[in-house]
């Protein structure tokens, strides 16, 4: 019976401590994506295949091309980085880590002009998609995914 009690205590300890063991360095992929409709769409970028169906249904385009991207491994949760294309730049400033994800400040620039700013709590399990300006016949999208 003493063994049984010890086993129960060990299981309880495991239950309460398991999530903290899961904390580890994570990589955040941030991309500038142009969505448009073409006759022969290029293959979906691998970073977006997980949300391909959602992107197609939400925006109604059949091609998604990455025009700028950055992959950042977060160690302290306080890093900042830039994903940029020829005309656009997405500045990401990580402002801390929680159990569920990272607090990020995002700024979208068109050349040197600030178009959009947002603060988000990016979850490790939930990608973020931001609808940007119309570009030609397509649409600029900002996508952030914790990998």
């Amino acid at each position: 019976m003493r063994n049984c009690a010890l086993l129960v205590a060990a299981l309880l300890a495991l239950a309460t401590s398991a999530p903290s063991a899961a904390q580890a360095a994570q990589t955040v992929w941030s991309g500038l994506v142009i969505a448009d409709n073409v006759a022969q769409p290029a293959p979906m970028p691998p970073e977006l295949t997980r949300i391909e169906q959602t992107l197609k249904e939400l925006f109604g385009y059949n091609q998604f091309q990455v025009i700028g991207q950055s992959r950042k491994t977060l160690k302290t949760g306080e890093e900042d980085w830039l994903a940029s294309s020829k005309y656009f730049a997405l500045h990401v400033d990580a402002r801390g880590e929680s159990e569920a994800g990272y607090v990020l400040n995002l700024k979208l620039y068109k050349e040197n002009e600030l178009l959009l700013e947002t603060d988000t709590k990016l979850s490790k399990r939930s990608p973020l998609v931001i609808k940007g300006p119309q570009v030609g016949g397509g649409q600029l999208l900002l996508v952030l995914v914790v990998q």
Binding site: C4, L11, P19, E113, L115, T118, D119, Q134, V135
Partner: protein
């Protein structure tokens, strides 16, 4: 005072005697017929004794032994069927099994409670804390946000930003 039927039965069985016998036989209307009936009754009685008599037991001792055993068993101190003898579930084991089940339930509950926090937005969905556009650059811009259930994608939907020429799609 005996009735006629009682005296008749006693007469048939030969139990009347003396004055009582004389008086009864004198009261019979047809003594010959009565004698014949008495004879028949005796004959029938003999036959019944022969045919229906109790058979002697061939294993009398064994039968008696069995009978005594059964009486002793049934008249002895009554015993409840013991839990220990009939099942593995002793009170102590029941107690420990119950305690272990309760502990297991608590562990599962802790896991579930960590996953879900009712009343709050799930911590596993990305949340937009705030968003703004420069009103000087995009005066008609509107911002909305939602989540898709399928992929748990959080979408910040900005309408009314200034449209740009296709050249801006360059890498």
């Amino acid at each position: 005072m005996k009735t006629f039927e009682e005296k008749w039965t006693a007469w048939l069985d030969g139990e009347l005697s003396g004055k009582e016998l004389v008086e009864f036989e004198a009261s019979l209307p047809d003594k010959t017929a009565a004698e014949a009936q008495k004879h028949d009754a005796h004959k029938l009685g003999t036959l019944l004794k022969e045919q229906l008599g109790a058979h002697a037991l061939s294993n009398e001792d064994f039968f008696s032994h069995q009978l005594r055993e059964r009486i002793a068993r049934e008249s002895g101190p009554s015993r409840e069927p013991s839990l220990e003898a009939s099942t593995w579930w002793t009170v102590r084991r029941l107690f420990w099994t119950g305690a272990a089940s309760l502990a297991l339930f608590l562990i599962c509950a802790i896991f579930v409670m960590r996953e879900m926090n009712p009343g709050e937005q799930s911590q596993y969905l990305t949340q937009i804390l705030n968003a703004r556009v420069d009103p000087a650059v995009s005066p008609n811009a509107t911002i909305s946000m939602f989540e898709t259930k399928e992929d748990k994608v959080t979408v910040l939907w900005v309408e009314g930003l200034q449209s740009l020429p296709a050249d801006y799609a360059a890498k």
